[in-house]
Amino acid sequence: MFCETCGSQLVPDAHFCGTCGAVVKAHEPADVLPVHAAAPPSLVAVPPPAPTAARCSWCGSPLAADTFSCPGCGGKVSEMAMGTRSGWLQLPGRKDMAKLQFGQSTCQIEGVYVPVADIRLAAGDSVYFAHHVLLWKDPDTNITTMPLKGAWKRMFAGMPLIMTQAEGPGHIAFSRDAPGELIAVPIHPGQSVDVREHLFLTATGNVTYDWFNTNVWFQTRNGDDTETHYPVGPFMDRFSGTAQPGLLLLHAAGNVFTRTLGPGETMLVKPTALIFKDPSVQMHLHFEHPQVGFLSWGSWSNRYLWLRVIGPGRIAVQSSFERLEGESRSIQSASYATETRW
């Protein structure tokens, strides 16, 4: 137990903090009754909401009438209808220190510039993550590597992408390398979500992980070398729910916006701004050539490269993005693409 005011370690059953004198709030069940921590989640599930209860506009979790923030993603209820004029929905703001519940464990989201996911794992619960997002952990929180099929093909910053698993009980925290937002995506049974690579922070053990080839690429020629570029990365991560609801945490740079595309509805987005999409959303390249009335330069300059996303399904974008590699060069060949010439 730690003091919620100053962070000092507390003696068990203390009513006051020995360092700062703050009153210690009622203990969480998992701290005082460790027996409950191992109980199957079904026995201690959150009470079912009233049939009329509202749902969180971001993650779809049911909301009790008197809550100020969503138990599934931590979003502020008051900011849930923050739609832009063109129909993008902004990720609802979150109170600093908002707490999410999954299984018997909790995740507290701390900070507003580069938020930290501070997870208290109960015994029997686990999370997995890519090694480079670990911020800190308790010395006795057990971590192991997770077997991944074909994972040796994928590298991140020169290191093979290894999924690491942390098992409760214990504390572990994650963060990323750019100012932005932490996105909580509750994964319901049967639901899947496709995430652009390297945006993944952590997921609960009951969410299955797989990846697939995006098949979105173009080749450029530089002297005798042919280079292949992948605007949304060569691979995408796919996270799927199992029998029990799980939680997926992503980190996006800048602000986050989402919209649900109707069947056949399309949108042009910057490829490096894509965060995630439903598996039902199709995507391919789109080249747009502006109208040039005055003189014609090489084809390499007169085009914009887009990702065309086609509904039905949900997509999310971030407002800050890396520059697209190879965009300026002459394109030799590309995966399936549409084209507009103005």
């Binding site: 100012p179 602000n255 109208q291 330069w297 800050s320």
Partner: protein, 274 residues
């Protein structure tokens, strides 16, 4: 006359852009600055650029711009038929497929390259929606320009400008950035002729502005310079940093001299001119 009529003619002056707004307005309709927040001025005289509230709408010509997000804000434009905006292509975040794009004819643009691409200004014409954002944390600086105004802006710092504004650029020789070096830099110049227009910049980090009196000057790190009125002059000065013994080193600073406004950013992201 009855007092309600008199009151309805009362106007609130925006502390940032001086536009007049109806009394009930919460944010300035021309620049988005919150009207219920006083000017924040430091003791040394820098005024903080107003933090635009999430989802604020700004009006220009017959079109609107909605500012979304507070980490890397997005400018979402709803263009009316007949209205157009221009921008550097790499700041486009998303667009409707139906919004036509053209290139602006530029003299000398071929000499100026950016990120391996020739420097081109793209034009989007209404009707339709298109949105813009940048690659790092910062603030949107909304500058409504009235006829006769001339503003010089750090290269690659402008996000978009409405079509009523005339665009050109000038090269500032000798101005090198302490952190990044380089062969000098360009400044984009925006001039309004007949009708008012809207200019939106993205400043990295926080943005501050001060108005210099005629002859008053201040020394700036070149990487911090964001914009100035064209009446403000900018000269490079070399400052000798002695080490006491041999050698020493020099650093270049920009001396900006009034009269007029000068704006700075607190984070030095520099896009090098090649």
């Amino acid at each position: 006359m009855s007092s309600p009529t008199a009151e309805s003619f009362e106007r609130l002056k925006c502390p940032w852009c001086q536009s007049l707004n109806v009394r009930s307005a919460l944010a300035c309709q021309a620049c988005g600055a919150p009207l219920d927040v006083a000017n924040l001025v430091s003791e040394s005289g820098w005024r903080e650029c107003p933090r635009i509230r999430d989802m604020t709408e700004i009006h220009f010509s017959n079109s609107t711009c909605q500012v979304e997000g507070e980490i890397v804000p997005v400018a979402e434009i709803n263009l009316s038929p007949g209205d157009a905006i221009f921008f550097e292509h790499h700041v486009m975040l998303w667009k409707d497929g139906t919004v036509p794009l053209t290139l602006m004819p530029l003299s000398g643009g071929l000499k100026r390259a950016f990120g391996g691409m020739p420097f081109l200004i793209s034009v989007a014409t209404g009707p339709g929606r298109i949105a813009f954002s940048r690659d790092a944390t910062g603030e949107l600086v909304v500058l409504p320009l009235h006829p006769g105004m001339e503003v010089d802006v750090r290269e690659h710092a402008f996000l978009l400008s409405s079509h009523q504004i005339q665009y050109s650029f000038v090269r500032v020789k000798g101005l090198v950035n302490i952190l990044f070096g380089g062969q000098g830099m360009y400044m984009d110049r925006f001039v309004t002729a007949g009708s008012p227009g809207l200019l939106i910049l993205h400043g990295y980090g926080n943005v501050f502005e001060r108005t210099l009196k005629p002859g008053e000057s201040i020394m700036l790190e070149p990487g911090a310079f964001l914009y100035k009125d064209s009446s403000v002059t900018m000269d490079v000065e070399f400052q000798k940093l002695g080490t006491g013994f041999f050698g020493g080193t020099t650093m270049s600073l920009a001396r900006v001299t009034g009269p007029g406004r000068v704006g700075i950013q607190s984070m030095y992201v520099h896009h090098k001119t090649e």
